[in-house]
Assembly symmetry: C2
Homo-oligomer: 356 residues x 2
């Protein structure tokens, strides 16, 4: 069993903490550990360190080594640049097969939060078992507790297996992020789950599925496979990434594949998509304020405050996100947390490099 | 004609810009000049520099000299510590009399804003004339344009003089800061004016009034007068300030005196009492945002932003005051601007000296 941690993301919605050179997964948003450190800690009890691989781009490698000083080159798979999840997963599968032709691969985003770690590890073990036995593609579906519009959904069919109260179902269909009315319908139906973006399969199986549904990508991956470990690898990788299209594994493979299963579980999971989500997941005082670092609140309610240095003082405000980091300060209403992306786009357009 | 600028104030409501070592009058809140520089610029056309005196405490002297490098010791009257306006005015009057027994003295707060400077200067000249002719105490009353509860009021009687459309009335009574209902009544009555805290009188006349209504203070001032220029002055001044009670000239003298007059004028005046007042007086963009320094707003309305260094970015917020200065950031709703005083009190109680 191997873990492939997809660590190449560039979250812009956590500005001013996330910057071009310090994306979200490398930030300590909850407690002292970074999201990627929490991700690794979560799987260490069941996957040995040498079997934990990271896919990311070369600029992020120093950050990774800073946070995991014990890593060796064996653990790191570099993408010249990000092209969404399908190439990252295909590349990791090729590398894993070179090491172990029976490798079972767990693909995990680096920047999610899971509160129920034991259930999670059990789910991974069930997934590995099913993946080994059925040549299937296994995904982890989260029992929804609200009509979230920020997640994709998975509709499940009949149950094929259950262990320790964790059922595995056949997948009926994948659904894109819904509007609110559709999300309410999904929630009521009882057979829709949140798509967590976590997958389990044998490396050989996912490559075979890529062959079926993304044949050009498969051809490129097979050429790469031939040159792994040679001095031609770097140049071929670069060419491969230049040519392939950016596509998610969900859209490119999962939605089309036949033998797709979903492990249905309640993990206390969040993709920590924006500051308001961080606020929701944080411990709060009686007035609903969550303060990390040097913050002070007076006559204020339901605010999230973060400061790594200067004093941030709130007086008479509600429902705000206030973040001081490095040379910038964000003051944002909870309901506009998604619009931080627009703000960062503006900074890019204006070439305000000091703040990116 | 002499000006006495009362510069000893320690505004706490402009935190985090105002600090113990940098009170409001020494801040550039509008444009590049500080409030005290604007105050001096306003009177220079009619009062020569050597006749402009400043009353303040020794800790503030370096700030004053930094902002007015050309000042001599003659221009500066030091109070060991602040004891409200009556002692400051009494002390200044004693010093002025030592220089010029016919001195007419204009007492001005250092931290107010006046938009109509020509009307203001005309009012001072009218005041100096009346003060010379009538041995009276002249105050400047502002025609109110709203039922403000943050100012004291002056009710006037019949007009005794008018020049260039600026009338001078006898004063009927002084009124403390009213509640809203009373303020509405004052506004409707038509004979109530805002008390600007600016006064004009002969130095000998105000001392005579202090003799009548604050006899202990008068005795102390006369003792000081004897020792001006001697090496006993500093010690006697210290003793005097320790012993006298803290009292305003309004409460101690003006409300009791007989020959009190008010110059009624519309000056575009504000005492700039808090950040929301600064917002009101600032130039705004179409969304009602007033930004000074390094600020950026997105989907936000009616906000005041100040930053002397770091980027302050607002997203989806309204009616906020956001001020970054030195090592602190304030995020405050406009309606709670008065509560900043409470915040500063908290910092003092907790002995958070770095932020005071």
């Amino acid at each position: 069993m191997y873990a492939v941690i997809m660590a190449g993301g560039t979250g812009t919605r956590f500005w001013p903490r996330s910057r071009e050179r310090k994306p979200k997964q490398f930030l300590a948003i909850f407690g002292n550990k970074t999201l990627i450190q929490l991700t690794v800690d979560r799987i260490r009890p069941i996957i040995p360190d040498q079997n934990i691989l990271f896919v990311l781009n070369p600029q992020q490698k120093p950050l990774l080594l800073e946070q995991f000083p014990q890593l060796t080159e064996e653990n790191i798979i570099l993408e010249p640049f990000g092209k969404n999840t399908a190439p990252a997963i295909g590349l990791a599968a090729v590398h894993l097969l070179a090491r172990d032709e029976n490798a079972v691969m767990v693909a995990l985003p680096a920047d999610h939060i899971i509160l129920k770690e034991q259930v999670f590890r059990k789910a991974l073990q069930i997934g590995a078992k099913i993946a080994g036995e059925h040549d299937g593609l296994i995904t982890i579906g989260i029992t929804p507790d609200r009509p979230a519009t920020g997640y994709g959904y998975i509709q499940h069919n009949e149950k094929i297996y259950e262990e320790d109260g964790i059922p595995v179902h056949k997948v009926k269909t994948f659904a894109e992020k819904p509007n609110y009315e559709t999300a309410v319908r999904f929630l009521r139906s009882g057979d829709f789950l949140w798509n967590s973006g976590m997958f389990i399969w044998r490396a050989s199986v996912i490559l075979d599925e890529i062959r079926k549904y993304l044949p050009e990508m498969y051809t490129g991956l097979m050429q790469l496979r031939e040159v792994i470990g040679t001095d031609r690898y770097a140049a071929e990788l670069e060419t491969f990434y230049r040519q392939i299209r950016s596509i998610s594994i969900d859209y490119g493979v999962m939605e089309k594949a036949q033998k797709v299963f979903v492990i249905k579980c309640d993990l206390g999971w969040s993709d920590v998509g924006s500051w308001d989500e961080v606020y929701k997941l944080s411990d709060k005082d009686k007035q609903g304020n969550a303060i990390t670092g040097n913050g002070l609140v007076l006559k204020s309610k339901n605010c999230y405050v973060f400061s790594e240095d200067d004093l941030v003082a709130l007086v008479g405000v509600e429902n705000l996100i206030v973040v001081k980091s490095d040379n910038a300060i964000l003051v944002c209403s909870q309901e506009h947390a998604q619009d931080i992306r627009e703000l960062v786009d503006y900074l890019k357009r204006k070439n305000m490099q000091d703040y990116l």
